[in-house]
Amino acid sequence: MPSPPVVLRLSGITKRFGPLVANDAISLTLHEGEVLALLGENGAGKTTLMNILFGHYVADEGSIEAFGRPLPPGSPKAALAAGIGMVHQHFTLADNLSVLDNIAVGTEPLWRFWSDRGAARRRLLDLAERFGLGVRPDALVGDLSVGERQRVEILKALYRDARVLILDEPTAVLTPQESAGLFDTLRRLTADGLAVVFISHKMNEVFAASDTVAVLRAGRLVATRRTAETDREELAELMVGRALKPPTPTPMAAGEPVLALAQVTVNSGHGRPLLDAVDLTVRRHQVIGIAGVSGNGQTALADLVSGLIHPDSGTLSLKGETVGYADPAAMVRRGVARIPEDRHAAGLVGAMAVWENLIAERYHDPAFQRFGVIRRGAARAHARAVIEAFDVRCPGPDARTQLLSGGNMQKLILGRTLAHGPDLILASQPTRGLDVGAVSYVHGRLLEARAAGAGVLVISEDLDEILALADAIAVIHHGRLTPALPHDRVSVRQLGLLMAGHWDVLPEILDAA
C-alpha cells in the first residue's frame, strides 16, 4: 500500500528563548488522514513548535513545507491560507456574538456593506452535518458549554478550508464524555482526508485517538512511533527520560474518623442546592476519592472543607468534634491541609516571594512573628527546609513564585500544608495540568501522608487518578453523594453509570459489597 501524500514537513526547526532552547532541530512529517499526537511534559516545547507552525513565532533555524510549498515564517495569515487551522487551549471566541458570527468573522471582505449570511449559514450547517459537529448557529457563544465552544473552534477552522488541524491540549477542559465525542470527530475528519496534530501530555488520549506519536523532551524530538506498536511504559519512559514506577497504595486498616459530614446541605440561592444532604466519613490511613463530572458540586464540597463556605443545614465534624462557624484559618489550626483546585488563582500569591507564600497559612505562629514583626530569618530558613524536603526547583526562598512551573507550584503548596503533619488532607484536583513526573510525585506524597496517619479526601475529575489512589470511592452527581464504595467492589463501568446519574445500579453494588 503506498503511503498517503505528505501534507506537512517540518525540517530542523530550532527556536531559542535567550539561553533556553525550546525546540532543538525538530523534524516531523504529517500525512493525509493521519492523527499525530505530540506528547511531552510541560515545557517540553510542544506548544512552541505548534506556534511556529502557525506563524505566531519565527523559528531561528529550519523550514516548513505545507502541501509541497514552503510556508513563509511568522505569518498566521499565510498558515491559514495554506490550509492550517489551529484550536488554541484557551479559546479565541467572542462571547457576545452568535456561533455563526464567530465563525464568519474575518472571512468576509471589510469593504462590503452586506454580508451573505444565508450562504454562510448553509455552509456552516453543511460542515456541521458532514462531521457530526452539532451546533446551533444562532446561539450566543457565551451560553455554550466548554465542549460546544470547542466544536465551534473546530468548525471555524474547517470553515476556512483547513486541511491540517492543530489542537493544543484539546481535552484539558473536557469531561470524559466530551473527550470521547472529540475523538469521534477526529476520526470523521481524518476519514475525509484531513490531517490532525494534537498536543497532549495524557497517555490514554494518545492511545484513544492517534495513529502516530512523537515524543518531545526538553525541546528535542526523542522518538516517533506508530501508536499501535508502542505501549504506555515505553512512552512514559521516553517522556521523562527514566523509568517511572507509579506509587501504589499498600492496604492499611482505616483508623478513627477525622472528617464527618452529616446531612450537609449547601444552597446555591437559585434552584438545585450545591450539596444535597451529603454524608461522608474520612478516617485515618484512608483515601476517599470523590468522582464525578465537572460541576456537580465538587467545588462546593472543597470550599466547605476548606472553610470558605458553611453548611446551610447538617453538621461538619473534625476528629469527632462538631465545627461551628469555621473560616480557612480555623480549618488550618484544626489540622486540615488544603490543596486548592486552582493553584494560581487560589493557592499562591504569584507576585510574592516563595518564603512569603510558605508562611501564608501560619504567619501568626510565634515561630514566624513576634509582636507583629515578621521573623524573616526564621521564615526564610523554613522556606529553605521545605524547598529541600519537597524538591521544589527554584532559585531560592526569595524567588518570585509566579516564575515557578506548575509542578513546582504544587510542590510548594504541598510543602506549605504537609510539612505540619496534618490530620486531614483535602486535595482538590491535585494533579490537574501537571506532567507525569509531577503527578507521580504528588500521589506519592499523598500516600505517604496516609501512611503517617492522615485521612485524605481526593476530589478529582480524572477517574484514573481516583482509581490509582482511593481506598473507597464516592460519586457526586447534582450535589448528591453516594456512599463510599470500596475500590475493589466497584467497576469502572458502574462508576461511569453513577457519574452519569444512573443511581439505580447502587443497590446492586451495595448488595455485592
Binding site: G18, V58, L308, L348, G372, I374
Partner: protein
Amino acid sequence: MRLEPRAHAPLAIRLLAPVGAVVAALALCALLVAWTGAPVLRAYGLLVEGAVGSRFALTETLTRATPLILTGLAAAVAFRAKLWNIGAEGQLYMGALAAVVLGGELLNLPAWAVLPLALIGGALAGGVTLLGPAVLKVRFGVDEVVTTLLLNFVVLLLVSMLLEGALKDPMGMGWPQSAPVVEAAELPKLIERTRLHVGLLLALGLAVILWLIDTRTIWGYENRAVGANPRAAAFAGMPVTRVMLRTALLSGGLAGLAGAAEVCGLKGYLTLDLSPGFGYSGIVVAMLAQLHPLGVVGAAVFIAGIFVGADAMSRAMPVPNYIADVLVATSLLCMLVAGLLARYRLRRS
C-alpha cells in the same frame, strides 16, 4: 519587536527607571519650551534654580512637597491593596475642615491638646470619608473609583456651604473663609522666617514607618497579599475584608492629615483654594514612586520642585507656568513606559 518578562529586575534598573523617565520627559517638554521662543537650556536652568537654587527656593519646594508626600502615601497605600482611592482631594478637605473646627476658637480646647487633636481629628475625618466607599465596595461591590471621585465634589460643596455659613469668619471682609485656628493649634516652623513647618518631619516619619510596616510586619504582609491576590489571601485564611477597611482608614487618614497639616502649619484657616489639587497630584506622586513609600518622598519633592521652579521661571521668561503641569503629566506617562521596560525586556522578533 516583542516584550519578554524579566525574571527579576535588578535594583539598578529599578532605580534608573524613574531617572530615565524624568530625563525623557524633560527632553520632550524641551520642544514646547523651544516653541515659545525661549532658550531651552536657560529655561530649565531657571527652573532648577527656582526650585532648589537658594535657601528660599528649597524651603518653598519642601513646603509644597509636604502635603504631596502625605497624599502620595495615601494613594500608594490604597493602590497597593488595589483600593482605587481617587478621593484624596475630598479626604484632604475633610481633614482640613476637622482641623479648623477642632483648632478654632469655637471649641476652645486646652492649649496642650489642641494641636494633637486637630491633627488626629483631621486624619480621622479623612479616614472615615474613605471608609464609606470601602464598605460599599466590600459589601456590595460598588466601584470605588466612581464613589471616591464623586465624593470629592460632595466634600467641596459641603466645605463651600460651611464657609459661606456656619464657619464663615466674621472678620473675613465677606470672603468665603473660616476663622483662623488658635495659636496653640499651629505647627511650629522648621526654619525661622520661612514657610517650612514641622509637617514635613511628620510626613517623612510616616513614610519611613509605612515602609517598615509594609516590609517587616504581618500587617504589611497581609496588605500586600490581599492586594496581589485577594482570592489566595482569603484561601490562606487572611481577613480580606478587615484588610480592605484598615487600608481605607489609613489611606483616607493620610490624606486627611495632609489637609490638617496645611491648615495648622501653613494657612491657619480654611478656604476653598487650600489645595491646588494635592489629592490628584498624590496619585501622580505614587505612580512615579512605583507605590514605594520611600520613593513617594523623592517623587513628591520632584513634583513640588517642578511646580515651584516653573513659577520662578515663568516670572523671568515668556514661558507660562502651565509648563509645570505638562512636565508632570509627561513624567507620569514616561514613568509608565519606564516601569514597563523595567519589568520586561525588548526583543527583536
